[in-house]
């Protein structure tokens, strides 16, 4: 739930990194933590097990700077990816403003990715949130691994798109991050389909981490405007 605090001239927004266990959600936050100037970020809080698996969440507040006189602060959260922790995963979605789905590109993690995506839709629906109307980007992580599935295959399985019924939005909208690809387009069968934008990443090296964060931040701030 984004809060505009006119008293302290701050805008606070909540971003959640969602996805299957061991997909790289915490690694994304750790990279942001390492690369952002200490003066512009808070502590990285990790509620994890002794084996460093996320138990409840990781949390990192980042000050993006001042936009139109308002200090803009993003609160980055991860959820525990393991299936067992759905109760705590759902709690973290409360008041979310934008979501990054971190998928594991490895072929043998496809099923876990799909289960997690379905779980995200279900948990959002339980709060009455509509994921298709929310700032949402998909990150395909671990692109450096030899068993990484082709992007087209991942897109078909995890980001097939949803139908656009609002006629005012039924126009070809290019994906600003991928030349020659569209975010909204007409399917061969006639209906208009919208997909989330996606990013390829190797979070452990930092590749794609800030591209993803920048894209979702823009979507969140545009939604506020």
């Amino acid at each position: 739930m984004s809060m505009i605090n006119y008293a302290s001239r701050e805008i606070n927004c909540k971003l959640v990194y969602y996805g299957p266990g061991l997909g790289g959600k915490t690694t994304n936050l750790e990279h942001v933590y390492k690369k952002v100037a200490p003066s512009t970020r808070g502590k990285l809080i990790s509620l994890a097990t002794e084996t460093e698996r996320t138990l409840f969440f990781d949390f990192l507040p980042v000050d993006l700077g001042t936009i139109r006189g308002f200090k803009t602060r993003f609160h980055l959260y991860t959820v525990p990816g393991q299936v067992y922790y759905n109760a705590s995963r759902k709690l973290i979605l409360k008041g979310v403003d934008g979501i990054v789905f971190v998928a594991d590109s490895q072929v043998d993690r496809m099923e876990a990715n799909q289960e997690s995506m379905q779980n995200l839709y279900d948990n959002m629906a339980e709060y009455g949130y509509d994921l298709t109307k929310m700032p949402f980007v998909v990150q395909y992580n671990k692109r450096d691994l030899p068993n990484a599935a082709p992007i087209a295959e991942l897109q078909t399985a995890l980001n097939p798109g949803w139908e656009v019924t609002d006629t005012t939005r039924q126009r070809v909208t290019p994906d600003p991050y991928h030349a020659g690809e569209n975010l909204i387009e007409q399917a061969p069968t006639g209906e208009w389909i919208e997909r989330s934008t996606y990013f390829e990443a190797v979070a452990i090296n930092g590749d794609g981490v800030f591209d993803t964060l920048r894209a979702v931040s823009k979507l969140v701030l545009k939604a506020l405007s």
Partner: protein, 162 residues
Amino acid sequence: MSYGAASWSFTSEDQSAIHQVLQRFLTDSQAKCAMVVDRSGQLVTTVGDQPRFDAQAFASLTAADFSANDQLARLIGETDFNTLFHQGERESMLLADVARRVILVVLFDNKTTLGLVKLKLKGTVEQLAQHFATIGTRPARPEPEQRPLLGNVDDEIDKLFQ
């Protein structure tokens, strides 16, 4: 279904009114500090001794603590626990739900007692609930002329990431 969660705004007038209530509470209860945190973990305002710890992290953990305890309450057949108490050797904290919108966090030490803090808390929560109910009835998004102008901010966001 709605677009995610509604935004809400907190004005200087809201802050003055809430600070007034909390100042009185701190004087009456002799507690050190009162913080208001929203249910998604964002710090709204602080009154009294300014915390020496990371207030953002504290706020996010407070909301998580409250949410987890809400679920625990439901498991045992309660709708929620509307107050939580954490006792330390020197410092303690009392957390109270305010109108299901925000959480009031009170930090206090051995100069006062849990009984006194709890006694003064009840009326304070009621007053705050009235204020936040009013805030809640305002349009979720402020009037356009009051909103920060966030249109066409792509370039500015790009600069922030350089």
